[in-house]
């Protein structure tokens, strides 16, 4: 039998996970990775750390320099314009055709840029998704005249970008505007958001919340309430959209590409993984896009193993985030439904959400030790009456489990 031809579109967590998955099963198949960035695989979430000089281009490589060679795969720089499902080929902008036996679409997401009036007149405008974005923003900030920064979007990307800018350029005057009434609305509740906002404000970053940008006039933003903000540099971090277009008309797409627990799309021999997909969040039962690196890797690895005819399922995806700003750490997971166990003290904020004998989600700010115990309770859907739940609420640890369960965790092989 001739070697299986694997083609992977995307060179980030999902694609790399797939390579490592394939190679667990098939050491001889031909793997081709196609990326529209002419770069060695790098960690996308680290671009804010690169901007803030907290990592380097070398250290932020997601895998070592020998990755492609060691895994015997071929990295092709190009943009895929079409998937020809009948001919089982992908077509690049250069006209090149690559035939596949198994295809993975791990195309990620892109910055969503709203159609603001006057946006075309703004000089020094950036999105913040790629290493190239970070390097260009960094360069713009190196011009001493570019001190006033306006960031539209107080989500994960906007605030990590703000931190990176502040660390790179302590003299920067940063203003963050968001339509939402609180910072990090996708992961924090109201009180948690207040605490984080206060911490970031103390570092000199200004927030204007519950307020949208109406239009731009050169480097002045006019807000919905008429307020005008002059700026030198604009960062648009309003949101992201999944890159699904290659599979339009080929496989089922809702918000993201629909995949099953084996990372298969509805089209035969075509798999998908990462930010471009939507999967079932087992903490809420809803199908949604969970654009975060751990899920992308796990889903990619799962896809790779199945592409190589191994057996693997990914059945317990949940939203989960670990993020920090200026030394204040936040860990969150799951969905915020049900009754609440709550602690709210100076630099120790904890909310646990539970119902029907299951932990659904949590928010930890400040003291994040052993957060994974809670994550595990959500992912495993552990019946809360099988553990000492009041104890684990107070303090995350294995003490809350039965002696027998501890014996299996610490004395057995997992």
């Amino acid at each position: 039998m001739s070697a299986v031809r694997y083609v992977i579109i995307g060179n980030s967590a999902g694609g790399i996970g797939a390579v490592e998955g394939i190679r667990q099963v098939d050491t001889s198949g031909e793997i081709t990775i196609i990326s529209d960035e002419a770069l060695h695989t790098y960690s996308r979430p680290l671009i804010s750390y690169l901007l803030g000089n907290a990592t380097t281009e070398e250290k932020m490589l997601y895998r070592g320099r020998d990755f492609y060679e060691r895994n015997n795969c071929n990295l092709v720089h190009g943009t895929v314009t079409k998937i020809d499902k009948n001919a089982r080929a992908v077509i690049l902008a250069s006209g090149e055709r690559l035939v596949y036996d198994k295809l993975l679409v791990a195309t990620g997401s892109r910055a969503f840029v709203p159609d603001f009036e006057g946006l075309g007149t703004v000089k020094n405008q950036f999105t913040f998704m790629t290493k190239q974005n970070a390097l260009e923003l960094s360069q713009a900030l190196e011009n001493g005249g570019n001190r006033r920064v306006l960031i539209v979007g107080a989500g994960l990307i906007g605030l990590k970008c703000a931190e990176g800018i502040m660390k790179k350029t302590p003299a920067a005057k940063i203003t963050v505007v968001d339509l939402a009434p609180r910072v990090l609305p996708s992961i924090l509740d109201e009180n948690g958001a207040k605490l984080v906002q206060k911490h970031i404000e103390a570092k000199g970053i200004k927030f204007i919340l519950s307020q949208g940008v109406k239009r731009f006039d050169n480097n002045t933003a006019v807000l919905e309430n008429g307020e005008k903000i002059d700026f030198d540099v604009l960062v648009l971090a309003v949101g992201v959209r999944p890159n699904t277009s290659l599979l339009e008309g080929i496989a089922t797409i809702n918000k993201g590409i629909v995949v099953n627990e084996k990372s298969e799309t509805t089209a035969s021999d075509i798999y998908a993984a990462g930010d471009c997909t939507e999967t079932r969040d087992i903490s809420s039962g809803e199908s949604k896009i969970m654009a975060l690196l751990p899920n992308a890797y796990i889903q990619g690895e799962c896809a790779g193993i199945n592409m190589a005819n191994g057996e693997k399922t990914f059945t317990n995806a949940i939203p989960m985030n670990a993020i920090g700003f200026f030394g204040l750490h936040i860990i969150t997971a799951g969905s915020y439904n049900g009754e609440i166990y709550s602690e709210n003290a100076e630099n120790r904020y904890k909310q646990l959400f539970y119902s029907d004998n299951r932990l659904n989600g949590f928010i930890l700010i400040g003291d994040i030790q052993k957060a994974g115990i809670y994550t595990s309770l959500i992912r495993e859907r552990t019946p809360l009456d099988s553990i000492d739940f009041p104890l684990v609420c107070e303090k995350a640890g294995l003490l809350a489990f039965t002696k027998q369960e501890r014996q299996s965790k610490l004395g057995g092989t997992q």
Binding site: M60, P294, E301, M320, H329, I331, I368, G397, L398, L410
Partner: protein, 141 residues
């Protein structure tokens, strides 16, 4: 391969494992001098309450969620041991978010801390220092 296992019934709750762990790698000869007046950040931690106590350290899982989830590639598994590249780690704490044992912890500013089985010396210091065989280093099926 050999790994660290915990025999809960033998644990005295003496916390010596934590001190031996923190001492390992300091390069000092005298433990008391090396650890005097400092807050230690051991890679093994004793949990205790109401007379129950046991030590917890990295299980070096077959399917390590921390490695899969690591956003930098700093956590890797080779030859059965999960190691951390402290240079690459940016302290995002995604591994702490993921570890179902609570076996990865923050340090003072540096990279996260986790048990690497004292691979360079052969026997984990916590095991060598445990006075009651409550922590052992052996092969189990």
């Amino acid at each position: 391969m050999r790994r660290v296992f915990v025999n809960e019934k033998w644990c005295l709750g003496c916390h010596l494992c934590e001190y031996y762990c923190a001492f390992a790698g300091t390069g000092e000869k005298d433990m008391a001098r090396a650890l005097k007046d400092i807050k230690i950040h051991p890679r093994i931690n004793v949990e205790e309450k109401d007379g129950i106590c046991f030590a917890v350290s990295c299980r070096h899982c077959k399917e390590p969620l921390c490695v899969k989830a690591c956003i930098t590639g700093a956590l890797q598994k080779s030859d059965g041991v999960i190691t951390i590249d402290s240079e690459k780690c940016v302290n995002c704490y995604t591994c702490i978010l993921c570890c179902p044992y609570g076996a990865i912890s923050p340090s003072d500013g540096g990279a996260v801390m986790k048990c690497e089985l004292c691979v360079s010396t052969g026997t984990p210091a916590c095991v060598a220092g445990c006075p009651n065989n409550a922590i052992v280093y052996e092969e189990r099926a």
